[in-house]
Protein backbone atom coordinates (compact mmCIF):
# COMPACT_ATOMS: atom_id res chain seq x y z
CA UNK A 1 0.00 0.00 0.00
CA UNK A 2 1.55 3.33 -0.98
CA UNK A 3 2.22 5.98 1.64
CA UNK A 4 -0.51 8.14 0.13
CA UNK A 5 -3.41 5.65 0.42
CA UNK A 6 -2.24 4.39 3.79
CA UNK A 7 -2.33 7.92 5.18
CA UNK A 8 -5.75 8.69 3.76
CA UNK A 9 -7.39 5.52 5.01
CA UNK A 10 -6.04 5.93 8.54
CA UNK A 11 -6.58 9.64 8.89
CA UNK A 12 -9.74 10.44 6.98
CA UNK A 13 -12.05 10.27 10.01
CA UNK A 14 -9.79 12.74 11.85
CA UNK A 15 -9.65 15.05 8.81
CA UNK A 16 -13.43 14.94 8.48
CA UNK A 17 -13.88 15.73 12.16
CA UNK A 18 -11.43 18.63 11.89
CA UNK A 19 -13.33 20.07 8.91
CA UNK A 20 -16.62 19.87 10.80
CA UNK A 21 -15.10 21.61 13.84
CA UNK A 22 -13.64 24.36 11.65
CA UNK A 23 -16.98 24.92 9.93
CA UNK A 24 -18.82 25.16 13.23
CA UNK A 25 -16.13 27.48 14.63
CA UNK A 26 -16.16 29.60 11.50
CA UNK A 27 -19.93 30.03 11.53
CA UNK A 28 -20.01 31.09 15.17
CA UNK A 29 -17.09 33.49 14.65
CA UNK A 30 -18.79 35.01 11.60
CA UNK A 31 -21.98 35.54 13.55
CA UNK A 32 -19.93 37.17 16.30
CA UNK A 33 -18.60 39.82 13.93
CA UNK A 34 -22.07 41.11 13.16
CA UNK A 35 -22.90 41.72 16.81
CA UNK A 36 -20.69 44.50 18.02
CA UNK A 37 -17.53 43.78 19.98
CA UNK A 38 -15.71 45.85 22.59
CA UNK A 39 -12.83 48.17 21.97
CA UNK A 40 -13.04 51.70 20.74
CA UNK A 41 -16.04 51.67 18.41
CA UNK A 42 -16.77 55.33 17.75
CA UNK A 43 -20.29 56.78 17.54
CA UNK A 44 -21.34 56.82 13.92
CA UNK A 45 -21.26 60.51 13.01
CA UNK A 46 -18.84 59.86 10.18
CA UNK A 47 -19.87 59.76 6.55
CA UNK A 48 -18.47 57.31 4.01
CA UNK A 49 -17.01 59.23 1.07
CA UNK A 50 -17.42 57.29 -2.17
CA UNK A 51 -14.34 58.81 -3.84
CA UNK A 52 -12.08 58.12 -0.87
CA UNK A 53 -13.41 54.59 -0.49
CA UNK A 54 -13.06 53.80 -4.19
CA UNK A 55 -9.47 54.99 -4.18
CA UNK A 56 -8.56 53.01 -1.05
CA UNK A 57 -10.13 49.83 -2.40
CA UNK A 58 -8.31 50.19 -5.72
CA UNK A 59 -5.08 50.92 -3.86
CA UNK A 60 -5.63 47.76 -1.85
CA UNK A 61 -5.80 45.75 -5.06
CA UNK A 62 -2.68 47.52 -6.37
CA UNK A 63 -0.72 46.67 -3.25
CA UNK A 64 -1.91 43.06 -3.41
CA UNK A 65 -0.44 42.87 -6.91
CA UNK A 66 2.94 43.87 -5.50
CA UNK A 67 3.38 40.52 -3.78
CA UNK A 68 3.26 38.49 -7.01
CA UNK A 69 5.22 41.34 -8.61
CA UNK A 70 7.91 40.90 -5.99
CA UNK A 71 7.77 37.16 -6.61
CA UNK A 72 8.72 37.68 -10.25
CA UNK A 73 11.28 40.36 -9.47
CA UNK A 74 13.07 38.01 -7.08
CA UNK A 75 12.29 34.91 -9.12
CA UNK A 76 13.99 36.17 -12.24
CA UNK A 77 17.14 36.80 -10.22
CA UNK A 78 17.63 33.28 -8.88
CA UNK A 79 18.78 30.17 -10.73
CA UNK A 80 16.24 28.18 -12.74
CA UNK A 81 16.17 25.34 -10.28
CA UNK A 82 14.82 27.64 -7.56
CA UNK A 83 12.32 29.77 -9.47
CA UNK A 84 9.21 28.05 -8.14
CA UNK A 85 10.47 28.19 -4.57
CA UNK A 86 10.44 31.99 -4.71
CA UNK A 87 6.97 32.11 -6.25
CA UNK A 88 5.69 29.56 -3.77
CA UNK A 89 7.12 31.41 -0.77
CA UNK A 90 5.43 34.63 -1.90
CA UNK A 91 2.13 32.94 -2.57
CA UNK A 92 2.24 31.11 0.74
CA UNK A 93 2.82 34.39 2.57
CA UNK A 94 -0.07 35.98 0.67
CA UNK A 95 -2.42 33.28 1.90
CA UNK A 96 -0.98 32.69 5.37
CA UNK A 97 -0.52 36.29 6.48
CA UNK A 98 -3.88 37.35 5.02
CA UNK A 99 -5.53 34.83 7.28
CA UNK A 100 -3.36 35.79 10.25
CA UNK A 101 -4.28 39.42 9.63
CA UNK A 102 -8.02 38.99 9.86
CA UNK A 103 -7.78 36.59 12.77
CA UNK A 104 -5.48 38.58 15.04
CA UNK A 105 -2.82 40.52 13.10
CA UNK A 106 -5.01 43.55 12.52
CA UNK A 107 -6.06 43.60 16.14
CA UNK A 108 -2.47 43.44 17.36
CA UNK A 109 -1.34 46.18 14.96
CA UNK A 110 -4.21 48.63 14.96
CA UNK A 111 -6.44 47.53 17.79
CA UNK A 112 -6.99 49.50 20.98
CA UNK A 113 -3.74 49.66 22.92
CA UNK A 114 -3.29 46.87 25.44
CA UNK A 115 -1.55 48.16 28.53
CA UNK A 116 -1.55 51.83 27.63
CA UNK A 117 2.15 52.06 26.78
CA UNK A 118 1.78 52.02 23.03
CA UNK A 119 3.57 48.70 22.64
CA UNK A 120 0.89 46.46 21.19
CA UNK A 121 -2.79 46.40 20.35
CA UNK A 122 -4.81 43.78 22.18
CA UNK A 123 -7.07 41.06 20.90
CA UNK A 124 -10.22 43.21 21.09
CA UNK A 125 -10.62 42.90 17.36
CA UNK A 126 -9.89 39.18 17.19
CA UNK A 127 -11.55 37.77 14.07
CA UNK A 128 -12.42 41.35 13.14
CA UNK A 129 -14.96 41.54 15.94
CA UNK A 130 -16.03 45.16 16.10
CA UNK A 131 -14.53 45.98 12.72
CA UNK A 132 -17.53 46.89 10.63
CA UNK A 133 -18.49 49.08 7.75
CA UNK A 134 -18.73 52.39 9.58
CA UNK A 135 -15.52 54.43 9.39
CA UNK A 136 -13.27 54.28 12.45
CA UNK A 137 -12.44 57.92 12.91
CA UNK A 138 -9.01 57.47 14.49
CA UNK A 139 -7.72 56.03 11.23
CA UNK A 140 -10.09 57.44 8.64
CA UNK A 141 -13.27 59.45 8.85
CA UNK A 142 -14.47 58.73 5.33
CA UNK A 143 -13.53 55.13 4.53
CA UNK A 144 -15.24 52.00 5.92
CA UNK A 145 -13.24 50.38 8.69
CA UNK A 146 -13.03 47.07 6.82
CA UNK A 147 -11.60 48.83 3.78
CA UNK A 148 -8.87 50.38 5.94
CA UNK A 149 -8.24 47.00 7.52
CA UNK A 150 -7.82 45.13 4.26
CA UNK A 151 -5.69 47.92 2.81
CA UNK A 152 -3.32 47.58 5.76
CA UNK A 153 -3.50 43.81 5.35
CA UNK A 154 -1.76 43.99 1.99
CA UNK A 155 1.15 45.80 3.65
CA UNK A 156 1.33 43.11 6.29
CA UNK A 157 1.54 40.55 3.50
CA UNK A 158 4.28 42.09 1.37
CA UNK A 159 6.61 43.02 4.21
CA UNK A 160 7.63 39.49 5.23
CA UNK A 161 7.88 38.62 1.53
CA UNK A 162 10.70 41.15 1.17
CA UNK A 163 12.86 39.11 3.53
CA UNK A 164 12.81 36.21 1.06
CA UNK A 165 15.53 38.01 -0.83
CA UNK A 166 17.99 37.36 1.97
CA UNK A 167 17.60 33.61 2.31
CA UNK A 168 16.70 32.72 -1.26
CA UNK A 169 17.79 29.36 -2.63
CA UNK A 170 18.53 27.69 0.70
CA UNK A 171 15.57 27.91 3.11
CA UNK A 172 13.52 24.88 4.06
CA UNK A 173 9.87 25.42 3.21
CA UNK A 174 8.51 24.15 6.54
CA UNK A 175 10.86 26.38 8.52
CA UNK A 176 10.02 29.23 6.19
CA UNK A 177 6.27 28.95 6.81
CA UNK A 178 6.64 28.92 10.58
CA UNK A 179 9.21 31.72 10.56
CA UNK A 180 7.07 33.97 8.34
CA UNK A 181 3.99 33.51 10.48
CA UNK A 182 5.91 34.24 13.67
CA UNK A 183 7.69 37.23 12.13
CA UNK A 184 4.42 38.74 10.94
CA UNK A 185 2.95 38.38 14.43
CA UNK A 186 5.93 39.23 16.66
CA UNK A 187 7.91 41.73 14.57
CA UNK A 188 5.62 43.34 11.99
CA UNK A 189 2.51 43.74 14.14
CA UNK A 190 4.28 45.46 17.09
CA UNK A 191 6.25 47.81 14.83
CA UNK A 192 3.11 48.70 12.87
CA UNK A 193 1.42 49.45 16.17
CA UNK A 194 4.26 51.67 17.36
CA UNK A 195 4.18 53.81 14.21
CA UNK A 196 0.60 53.69 12.94
CA UNK A 197 -1.50 52.23 15.72
CA UNK A 198 -3.67 54.27 18.09
CA UNK A 199 -1.42 55.22 20.97
CA UNK A 200 1.67 53.73 19.38
CA UNK A 201 4.73 55.22 21.10
CA UNK A 202 6.64 56.20 17.95
CA UNK A 203 4.00 57.63 15.69
CA UNK A 204 1.65 60.52 15.20
CA UNK A 205 -1.32 59.06 17.12
CA UNK A 206 0.03 59.73 20.60
CA UNK A 207 3.73 58.99 20.22
CA UNK A 208 6.98 60.77 19.40
CA UNK A 209 5.60 61.96 16.09
CA UNK A 210 7.91 60.08 13.73
CA UNK A 211 6.79 60.57 10.14
CA UNK A 212 6.21 57.41 8.12
CA UNK A 213 3.70 58.06 5.39
CA UNK A 214 3.39 54.58 3.90
CA UNK A 215 5.96 52.30 5.52
CA UNK A 216 9.59 53.38 5.44
CA UNK A 217 9.99 52.22 9.02
CA UNK A 218 7.26 49.59 9.24
CA UNK A 219 7.98 47.92 5.92
CA UNK A 220 11.41 48.72 4.48
CA UNK A 221 13.67 49.21 7.48
CA UNK A 222 11.81 46.41 9.25
CA UNK A 223 12.13 43.87 6.45
CA UNK A 224 15.52 45.10 5.30
CA UNK A 225 17.21 44.80 8.67
CA UNK A 226 15.52 41.47 9.39
CA UNK A 227 16.87 40.38 6.03
CA UNK A 228 20.38 41.15 7.23
CA UNK A 229 19.79 39.02 10.31
CA UNK A 230 18.49 36.21 8.10
CA UNK A 231 21.49 36.39 5.77
CA UNK A 232 23.81 36.09 8.77
CA UNK A 233 21.94 33.19 10.38
CA UNK A 234 21.30 31.16 7.22
CA UNK A 235 24.89 31.79 6.06
CA UNK A 236 26.15 31.69 2.49
CA UNK A 237 24.89 29.58 -0.35
CA UNK A 238 27.22 26.85 -1.56
CA UNK A 239 29.63 28.32 -4.04
CA UNK A 240 29.06 31.92 -3.00
CA UNK A 241 30.40 34.31 -4.19
CA UNK A 242 32.25 33.10 -7.27
CA UNK A 243 30.29 30.07 -8.34
CA UNK A 244 26.73 31.37 -8.32
CA UNK A 245 25.14 31.58 -11.76
CA UNK A 246 23.65 34.90 -12.84
CA UNK A 247 19.91 35.71 -12.89
CA UNK A 248 18.17 33.08 -14.96
CA UNK A 249 15.42 35.27 -16.37
CA UNK A 250 16.00 39.02 -16.28
CA UNK A 251 12.91 39.72 -18.42
CA UNK A 252 10.76 38.30 -15.62
CA UNK A 253 12.66 40.41 -13.12
CA UNK A 254 11.91 43.51 -15.18
CA UNK A 255 8.26 42.53 -15.36
CA UNK A 256 8.23 42.12 -11.61
CA UNK A 257 9.82 45.51 -11.10
CA UNK A 258 7.23 47.11 -13.39
CA UNK A 259 4.39 45.49 -11.43
CA UNK A 260 5.97 46.75 -8.22
CA UNK A 261 6.19 50.29 -9.60
CA UNK A 262 2.55 50.15 -10.66
CA UNK A 263 1.46 48.76 -7.33
CA UNK A 264 3.51 51.36 -5.46
CA UNK A 265 1.03 54.02 -6.52
CA UNK A 266 -1.47 52.19 -4.36
CA UNK A 267 1.12 51.65 -1.62
CA UNK A 268 2.03 55.34 -1.29
CA UNK A 269 -0.80 57.39 -2.76
CA UNK A 270 -3.32 55.01 -1.22
CA UNK A 271 -1.84 55.73 2.20
CA UNK A 272 -3.37 59.19 1.94
CA UNK A 273 -6.58 57.27 2.66
CA UNK A 274 -8.49 59.62 0.42
CA UNK A 275 -8.87 60.81 -3.15
CA UNK A 276 -7.23 64.11 -2.36
CA UNK A 277 -4.42 66.58 -2.95
CA UNK A 278 -2.20 64.67 -0.54
CA UNK A 279 -2.80 61.48 -2.52
CA UNK A 280 -1.93 63.32 -5.73
CA UNK A 281 1.26 64.70 -4.24
CA UNK A 282 2.20 61.26 -2.96
CA UNK A 283 1.54 59.78 -6.41
CA UNK A 284 3.83 62.32 -8.05
CA UNK A 285 6.56 61.96 -5.43
CA UNK A 286 6.45 58.17 -5.74
CA UNK A 287 6.83 58.22 -9.49
CA UNK A 288 9.54 60.87 -9.58
CA UNK A 289 11.64 59.24 -6.89
CA UNK A 290 11.50 55.91 -8.71
CA UNK A 291 12.36 57.50 -12.03
CA UNK A 292 15.25 59.51 -10.60
CA UNK A 293 16.72 56.59 -8.73
CA UNK A 294 16.53 54.33 -11.79
CA UNK A 295 18.34 56.95 -13.81
CA UNK A 296 21.02 57.52 -11.18
CA UNK A 297 21.73 53.82 -10.73
CA UNK A 298 21.98 53.33 -14.50
CA UNK A 299 24.34 56.30 -14.66
CA UNK A 300 26.53 54.96 -11.87
CA UNK A 301 26.72 51.60 -13.65
CA UNK A 302 27.55 53.37 -16.90
CA UNK A 303 30.27 55.46 -15.28
CA UNK A 304 31.88 52.85 -13.06
CA UNK A 305 31.22 49.64 -15.01
CA UNK A 306 31.30 51.04 -18.57
CA UNK A 307 27.74 49.92 -19.40
CA UNK A 308 24.31 50.64 -17.91
CA UNK A 309 22.58 47.39 -16.96
CA UNK A 310 18.92 46.39 -16.93
CA UNK A 311 19.32 44.83 -13.52
CA UNK A 312 20.93 47.99 -12.18
CA UNK A 313 18.23 50.23 -13.55
CA UNK A 314 15.32 48.23 -12.15
CA UNK A 315 17.09 47.83 -8.82
CA UNK A 316 17.60 51.58 -8.71
CA UNK A 317 13.96 52.25 -9.48
CA UNK A 318 12.82 49.88 -6.73
CA UNK A 319 15.24 51.51 -4.30
CA UNK A 320 13.85 54.93 -5.16
CA UNK A 321 10.28 53.78 -4.69
CA UNK A 322 11.21 52.24 -1.37
CA UNK A 323 13.05 55.31 -0.13
CA UNK A 324 10.22 57.73 -0.94
CA UNK A 325 7.69 55.50 0.86
CA UNK A 326 7.99 57.24 4.26
CA UNK A 327 8.11 60.68 2.62
CA UNK A 328 5.57 60.47 -0.20
CA UNK A 329 2.80 62.54 1.32
CA UNK A 330 5.14 65.10 2.87
CA UNK A 331 7.57 66.19 0.15
CA UNK A 332 7.57 68.30 -3.00
CA UNK A 333 8.46 66.82 -6.38
CA UNK A 334 11.93 68.33 -6.07
CA UNK A 335 12.25 66.77 -2.65
CA UNK A 336 11.35 63.48 -4.32
CA UNK A 337 14.14 63.98 -6.87
CA UNK A 338 16.67 64.50 -4.06
CA UNK A 339 15.36 61.43 -2.24
CA UNK A 340 15.67 59.46 -5.46
CA UNK A 341 19.32 60.46 -5.91
CA UNK A 342 20.24 59.26 -2.43
CA UNK A 343 18.07 56.19 -2.87
CA UNK A 344 20.23 55.03 -5.76
CA UNK A 345 23.60 56.24 -4.52
CA UNK A 346 23.64 54.69 -1.04
CA UNK A 347 22.28 51.25 -1.99
CA UNK A 348 24.59 51.16 -5.04
CA UNK A 349 27.57 51.68 -2.76
CA UNK A 350 26.23 49.19 -0.22
CA UNK A 351 25.74 46.52 -2.85
CA UNK A 352 29.03 47.19 -4.62
CA UNK A 353 31.34 47.64 -1.64
CA UNK A 354 29.72 46.86 1.70
CA UNK A 355 28.35 43.44 0.82
CA UNK A 356 31.50 41.97 -0.77
CA UNK A 357 33.68 43.44 1.97
CA UNK A 358 31.51 42.14 4.80
CA UNK A 359 31.02 38.84 3.03
CA UNK A 360 27.41 38.14 3.93
CA UNK A 361 25.19 36.47 1.33
CA UNK A 362 22.14 38.71 1.10
CA UNK A 363 21.24 36.88 -2.10
CA UNK A 364 18.88 39.40 -3.65
CA UNK A 365 20.04 42.51 -1.80
CA UNK A 366 17.00 42.82 0.45
CA UNK A 367 19.09 44.66 3.05
CA UNK A 368 21.09 46.62 0.50
CA UNK A 369 18.03 47.98 -1.26
CA UNK A 370 15.17 47.99 1.25
CA UNK A 371 17.20 48.31 4.42
CA UNK A 372 19.61 51.00 3.28
CA UNK A 373 17.01 52.63 1.02
CA UNK A 374 14.47 52.68 3.83
CA UNK A 375 16.94 54.17 6.32
CA UNK A 376 17.83 56.92 3.85
CA UNK A 377 14.14 57.57 3.13
CA UNK A 378 13.13 57.90 6.78
CA UNK A 379 16.02 60.26 7.48
CA UNK A 380 15.29 62.20 4.26
CA UNK A 381 11.72 62.66 5.48
CA UNK A 382 13.23 64.52 8.40
CA UNK A 383 15.07 66.72 5.92
CA UNK A 384 12.48 67.44 3.25
CA UNK A 385 9.04 67.22 4.89
CA UNK A 386 6.99 70.31 4.15
CA UNK A 387 4.09 71.09 6.50
CA UNK A 388 2.12 73.08 3.95
CA UNK A 389 1.81 69.99 1.72
CA UNK A 390 0.08 68.02 4.44
CA UNK A 391 -1.64 70.46 6.83
CA UNK A 392 -3.43 67.67 8.69
CA UNK A 393 -0.02 66.45 9.90
CA UNK A 394 1.66 69.84 9.73
CA UNK A 395 5.32 68.95 10.32
CA UNK A 396 8.48 70.28 8.69
CA UNK A 397 11.80 68.69 7.98
CA UNK A 398 15.16 70.34 8.59
CA UNK A 399 15.07 72.43 5.42
CA UNK A 400 11.52 73.67 5.78
CA UNK A 401 11.00 75.03 9.26
CA UNK A 402 12.47 75.82 12.68
CA UNK A 403 10.87 72.67 14.13
CA UNK A 404 12.69 70.67 11.46
CA UNK A 405 15.76 69.87 13.53
CA UNK A 406 13.63 68.28 16.21
CA UNK A 407 11.76 66.29 13.56
CA UNK A 408 15.04 65.06 12.11
CA UNK A 409 16.08 63.89 15.53
CA UNK A 410 12.78 62.05 15.94
CA UNK A 411 13.32 60.35 12.61
CA UNK A 412 16.82 59.26 13.66
CA UNK A 413 15.51 57.87 16.93
CA UNK A 414 12.81 55.96 15.05
CA UNK A 415 15.40 54.50 12.66
CA UNK A 416 17.59 53.39 15.56
CA UNK A 417 14.88 51.79 17.66
CA UNK A 418 13.09 50.07 14.78
CA UNK A 419 16.33 48.72 13.26
CA UNK A 420 17.54 47.43 16.61
CA UNK A 421 14.21 45.80 17.41
CA UNK A 422 13.81 44.25 13.98
CA UNK A 423 17.35 42.83 13.96
CA UNK A 424 17.28 41.35 17.45
CA UNK A 425 13.72 40.03 17.26
CA UNK A 426 14.33 38.40 13.90
CA UNK A 427 17.60 36.90 15.10
CA UNK A 428 15.88 35.30 18.09
CA UNK A 429 12.99 34.01 15.95
CA UNK A 430 15.38 32.46 13.45
CA UNK A 431 17.37 30.73 16.17
CA UNK A 432 14.19 29.35 17.72
CA UNK A 433 12.87 28.02 14.40
CA UNK A 434 16.29 26.61 13.53
CA UNK A 435 16.45 24.77 16.84
CA UNK A 436 12.96 23.31 16.50
CA UNK A 437 12.21 22.75 12.81
CA UNK A 438 15.39 23.63 10.95
CA UNK A 439 15.98 26.52 8.60
CA UNK A 440 18.36 25.36 5.91
CA UNK A 441 18.02 22.58 3.37
CA UNK A 442 20.67 19.89 3.18
CA UNK A 443 23.71 20.28 0.92
CA UNK A 444 22.29 17.79 -1.55
CA UNK A 445 18.89 19.49 -1.66
CA UNK A 446 20.54 22.84 -2.23
CA UNK A 447 22.49 21.44 -5.17
CA UNK A 448 19.51 19.72 -6.79
CA UNK A 449 17.39 22.81 -6.24
CA UNK A 450 14.45 23.76 -4.05
CA UNK A 451 11.76 23.35 -6.71
CA UNK A 452 12.26 19.61 -7.02
CA UNK A 453 13.20 18.89 -3.43
CA UNK A 454 10.74 21.13 -1.57
CA UNK A 455 7.84 21.12 -4.02
CA UNK A 456 8.33 18.19 -6.42
CA UNK A 457 7.98 20.52 -9.37
CA UNK A 458 10.15 21.93 -12.13
CA UNK A 459 9.56 25.45 -13.34
CA UNK A 460 10.70 24.73 -16.89
CA UNK A 461 10.88 21.59 -18.97
CA UNK A 462 13.87 21.15 -21.20
CA UNK A 463 12.44 18.74 -23.74
CA UNK A 464 8.78 19.58 -24.50
Amino acid sequence: MSAMSRASSTYWPAVLAMILVLCWGGVSLARDVETSGPGGQEPAATQVDTGDTAWVLISTALVMLMTPGLAFFYGGLVRRKNMLSILMQCFMILCLVSLQWVLFGYSLSFGPDAGGRGIIGGLDWFGLRGVGMAPFRTYSATVPHQAFMIFQGMFAVITPALIIGAFAERMRFSGFCVFSLLWATLVYDPLAHWVWGQGGFMGLLGGWGALDFAGGIVVHINAGVSALAAALVLRKRQGYPNMISPPHNLPLAVLGAALLWFGWFGFNAGSALGASGVASGAFVATHIAGATAGLVWASMDWFFHKKPTTLGMITGAVAGLAAVTPAAGFVTPIGAVLIGIGAAAFPWLAVTFLKPRMGYDDSLDAFGVHGIGGIWGVIATGLFACASLNPAVGRNGLFYGPDGAAQLLTQLKAVGISAAFSFVACLILLKVVDATIGLRVSEHEERVGLDLTQHKEAAYTLVD
Partner: protein, 113 residues
Amino acid sequence: MKYIIAVIQPDRLDEVLAELERKEIHLVTVTPVMGRGRQKGIAEVYRSHKEAGSLLRKVKLEIAVNVAFVQPTIEAITSRARTGRIGDGKIFVLDLDRCIRIRTAEEGNEAIG
Protein backbone atom coordinates in the same frame (compact mmCIF):
# COMPACT_ATOMS: atom_id res chain seq x y z
CA MET B 1 43.65 14.42 -31.83
CA LYS B 2 40.84 13.38 -29.50
CA TYR B 3 37.32 14.55 -28.85
CA ILE B 4 36.20 14.38 -25.22
CA ILE B 5 32.53 14.32 -24.26
CA ALA B 6 31.68 14.64 -20.57
CA VAL B 7 28.23 14.56 -18.98
CA ILE B 8 28.28 16.04 -15.47
CA GLN B 9 26.01 17.39 -12.75
CA PRO B 10 24.92 20.96 -13.61
CA ASP B 11 26.05 22.50 -10.34
CA ARG B 12 29.61 21.27 -10.89
CA LEU B 13 30.02 23.16 -14.16
CA ASP B 14 31.61 26.36 -12.86
CA GLU B 15 34.30 24.52 -10.93
CA VAL B 16 35.07 22.17 -13.82
CA LEU B 17 35.47 25.09 -16.22
CA ALA B 18 37.71 26.92 -13.76
CA GLU B 19 39.91 23.85 -13.37
CA LEU B 20 40.13 23.38 -17.16
CA GLU B 21 41.29 26.99 -17.45
CA ARG B 22 43.98 26.33 -14.89
CA LYS B 23 45.22 23.38 -16.97
CA GLU B 24 45.40 25.57 -20.09
CA ILE B 25 42.37 23.96 -21.73
CA HIS B 26 40.42 26.95 -22.91
CA LEU B 27 38.17 25.79 -25.71
CA VAL B 28 34.96 24.04 -24.76
CA THR B 29 31.33 23.73 -25.87
CA VAL B 30 28.64 23.41 -23.19
CA THR B 31 25.08 22.15 -23.66
CA PRO B 32 22.27 21.60 -21.13
CA VAL B 33 20.94 18.06 -21.57
CA MET B 34 18.55 15.55 -20.01
CA GLY B 35 19.99 12.23 -19.08
CA ARG B 36 19.77 9.11 -17.00
CA GLY B 37 22.31 6.64 -15.78
CA ARG B 38 21.76 4.51 -12.75
CA GLN B 39 20.58 7.52 -10.77
CA LYS B 40 16.84 7.40 -10.24
CA GLY B 41 14.91 10.54 -11.10
CA ILE B 42 13.05 12.87 -8.78
CA ALA B 43 9.27 12.46 -8.95
CA GLU B 44 7.33 15.58 -9.90
CA VAL B 45 3.67 16.20 -9.07
CA TYR B 46 1.35 18.56 -11.00
CA ARG B 47 -2.15 18.38 -9.42
CA SER B 48 -3.19 14.79 -10.12
CA HIS B 49 -0.47 14.18 -12.70
CA LYS B 50 2.59 12.40 -11.41
CA GLU B 51 5.76 12.45 -13.47
CA ALA B 52 7.91 9.34 -13.30
CA GLY B 53 10.96 11.58 -13.20
CA SER B 54 13.22 9.32 -15.18
CA LEU B 55 15.33 11.96 -16.92
CA LEU B 56 17.45 14.42 -15.00
CA ARG B 57 19.07 17.68 -15.96
CA LYS B 58 22.76 17.39 -16.74
CA VAL B 59 25.39 19.39 -18.55
CA LYS B 60 27.45 18.12 -21.48
CA LEU B 61 30.92 19.41 -22.24
CA GLU B 62 32.64 18.79 -25.54
CA ILE B 63 36.36 19.46 -25.85
CA ALA B 64 38.70 18.80 -28.78
CA VAL B 65 42.28 18.24 -27.58
CA ASN B 66 45.68 17.16 -28.75
CA VAL B 67 46.65 13.75 -27.37
CA ALA B 68 48.96 15.29 -24.75
CA PHE B 69 46.03 17.10 -23.19
CA VAL B 70 43.71 14.11 -22.87
CA GLN B 71 44.90 13.10 -19.40
CA PRO B 72 44.94 16.66 -17.95
CA THR B 73 41.41 17.18 -19.27
CA ILE B 74 40.17 13.96 -17.71
CA GLU B 75 41.85 14.84 -14.43
CA ALA B 76 40.42 18.36 -14.43
CA ILE B 77 36.92 17.08 -15.00
CA THR B 78 36.96 14.17 -12.57
CA SER B 79 38.60 16.12 -9.78
CA ARG B 80 35.91 18.82 -9.87
CA ALA B 81 32.83 16.90 -10.99
CA ARG B 82 33.13 14.00 -8.57
CA THR B 83 30.84 14.12 -5.53
CA GLY B 84 30.93 10.43 -4.74
CA ARG B 85 27.21 9.95 -5.33
CA ILE B 86 25.54 8.05 -8.14
CA GLY B 87 24.83 10.55 -10.93
CA ASP B 88 28.28 12.15 -11.10
CA GLY B 89 28.41 11.38 -14.82
CA LYS B 90 30.71 9.94 -17.47
CA ILE B 91 33.56 10.89 -19.79
CA PHE B 92 33.93 9.51 -23.31
CA VAL B 93 37.10 9.83 -25.39
CA LEU B 94 36.69 9.60 -29.13
CA ASP B 95 39.15 9.75 -32.02
CA LEU B 96 39.04 12.98 -33.97
CA ASP B 97 39.82 12.88 -37.72
CA ARG B 98 40.13 16.51 -38.62
CA CYS B 99 39.87 19.87 -36.94
CA ILE B 100 39.63 23.16 -38.87
CA ARG B 101 39.71 26.71 -37.55
CA ILE B 102 37.14 28.62 -39.55
CA ARG B 103 38.74 32.06 -39.28
CA THR B 104 42.17 31.09 -40.60
CA ALA B 105 41.56 27.71 -42.31
CA GLU B 106 44.32 26.17 -40.16
CA GLU B 107 44.07 22.43 -39.72
CA GLY B 108 45.09 19.76 -37.31
CA ASN B 109 47.05 20.28 -34.09
CA GLU B 110 47.37 24.06 -34.50
CA ALA B 111 43.64 24.43 -35.00
CA ILE B 112 42.76 22.63 -31.78
CA GLY B 113 44.28 24.90 -29.12
